[in-house]
């Protein structure tokens, strides 16, 4: 009995914090918009008992999902989000790996300081940090002023309100999520393995490819998922830094909800987004489990 209780805790957690909200969203996605509070129909009328329940059930349909397939806007937005999230993950990896590598090679007295430098920005509100990028990237912003003063460019570059700004924002924001798992993988790396590789005739470069990289693989995979999954549904960064041409599903979701006031379609978009994200989330979980088993 006690054992059963222990096992049921995580499942209850999952049920309360994931499944129930998901079912509510799923239910709204099967409803129709209505001019009422809340703005959809049907709503479940408990007082009518069973008849009310069946009436409610028969009022649900998949019309909103058919609507999503009829309009290429949604698929373009999903694809564009996929592209932006993938590109950002690759960029974050390219920037994050050398940082993590450098941290893991640093002397013991430096490591806590370096770690602090990675974590410190989290002490400031995410929103303020993204707003700060607006001031850096705008036409009269710090970056353009700097480049013009040095004489690299004659005319200010248009970066703000473009996809470039969105990439910069995402890579900046999620970089620590990439650095920390890679760092923790590299930190555990046994230096004697590298020495052995060199003794056996590997150049430093080959040793890096054959020893360091495979051992860091789990960290790279974990970091990539931690960047990719939130970047896919990102809303704040594209709406503050992106232009009207930045098409991301998080923004479409917001517009369906706030501008179009169409909760059912917004919910349908959210359900599809979740289904798309379940694949990487499951892969991420698998990777974590594998890592745990390997660590045993």
């Amino acid at each position: 009995m006690k054992r059963f209780g222990l096992i049921s805790v995580p499942y209850l957690w999952l049920l309360a914090l994931f499944l129930v909200p998901f079912l509510i969203v799923l239910k709204i996605s099967l409803s129709d918009t209505a001019l009422a509070i809340p703005p959809y129909t049907p709503t479940l009328d408990m007082s009518e008992g069973w008849a009310g329940f069946t009436a409610w059930l028969s009022g649900l349909d998949i019309e909103n999902f058919t609507w999503l397939t009829q309009d290429d806007l949604y698929w373009k937005a999903y694809l564009s989000s996929l592209k932006i999230a993938t590109m950002s993950t690759i960029l974050a990896l390219l920037v994050g790996f050398p940082i993590a590598y450098g941290m893991s090679r640093a002397s013991d007295e430096w490591r806590p300081t370096l770690m602090m430098m990675i974590i410190l920005p989290f002490w400031t509100s995410f929103l303020i940090r993204v707003y700060a990028w607006k001031a850096i990237l705008s036409q009269e912003g710090l970056l353009n002023q700097l480049l013009m003063n040095i004489g690299i460019i004659g005319e200010p570059l248009t970066i703000l309100n473009t996809n470039t700004a969105v990439y910069i924002g995402i890579v900046y924001t999620y970089l620590p999520f990439m650095v920390l798992p890679i760092y923790s993988a590299l930190e555990r790396l046994d230096e004697s393995l590298l020495e052995a590789a060199e003794d056996l005739g590997c150049s430093r470069m080959t040793a890096f490819w054959l020893v360091t990289l495979p051992l860091a693989k789990q960290g790279i995979i974990a970091g990539s998922f931690l960047v990719f999954i939130p970047a896919m549904g990102e809303f704040v960064i594209p709406s503050l830094l992106g232009g009207s041409k930045t098409l991301m599903i998080g923004k479409v979701l917001w517009e369906e909800f706030f501008s179009n006031r169409d909760w059912p379609v917004a919910s349908a978009v959210a359900v599809v987004l979740l289904l798309i994200l379940i694949i990487p989330i499951v892969l991420f979980q698998r990777n974590e489990e594998k890592q745990r088993e390997a660590g045993k």
Binding site: A34, L73, S244, S259, V265
Partner: protein, 361 residues
Amino acid sequence: MKKSWLMMSAAFVMGATAATAEEVRVYNWSDYIDEELLTKFEEETGIDLIYDVFDSNEVLETKMLAGGSGYDVVVPSGTFLQRQIVAGAFQPLDLSKLSNHGNMWDVIAERTAAYDPGNAYSINYMWGTTGAGVNVGKVKEVLGEDAPIDSLALIMNPANMEKLASCGVHILDAPSEIIPAALAYLGEDPNSHDPDVIAKAEPVLTAIAPYVQKFHSSEYINALANGDICVAVGWSGDVLQARDRADEAENGVEIAYNAFKEGSLMWFDQMAIPADAPNPDAAHKFLNFIMDEHNMAAASNYVYYANGNEASQAHLEEDVIGDPAIYPTEAALGTLYTTSPYDAKVQRVVTRLWTKIKSGT
């Protein structure tokens, strides 16, 4: 450490007592009141006033229809008010608590009754038109001396927009106002609810969208005043506020507002009390305060919008009551049109069209 604990609990207790004092939460459009009026209200009534702002009817409606917004007074425009009344979002006004109600102007009340029958749920706060704000010097430099600054051709003709793009154009992020304008340009009924007619607006707006720097409903005031943009399709009073800010800054920017000669949208912003307002008594006091002729005149003198309060007209400054951009002449009133709300299916067509136009897909 101990000391700071003490202070924290003291602050907590004070916070708790403040919360029990009477308060009223008002949700109004941005840049839409003389803020001295807010302090005046608090001093006269002793009620704490919490004043938040928004810049889109759509966002307001989302909050209203979700319910439990926590606001006591909100300010939707006519068509949105009408939808929200149907949805049951508002409570009828208690006229016995509104001693200043007699100040209201029947000319406006007749028109707002189309949205709120009998004006049972709302009072008119301000009204105005949606037209073009232009930086006269820059537009003439780009389009020549005879630039059509009072015509829809200024913004709906891609040839003009292509040239204007170099000095910057902003358009309101308000599909329910810009799509009717595109229809008026085509000579169609701007208030059409026929999806086939509405679809005719798409090619017009798609053709000009690439030249629009931003679809936004509040940034244009500063952008116009600073000379960052040369044309804004915006609301009358907001453009006139930009004109005054430019005058004060003495930056050489000359801003003019014109309603479109082919017809401009006439809209009404109505103050109403949500059905679930936590403090309807204080809300009535706020409405009554706003309907006071001196207060209403102070508000109009500050924001350059016409109001629906006849008694206030005696206290309006000459550059408000005498400006045809604010109080149009009888003849100009004839060219203005009003719109009625779309039903859910048409609304979906309209908003999808808008998303496509804005994102260029």
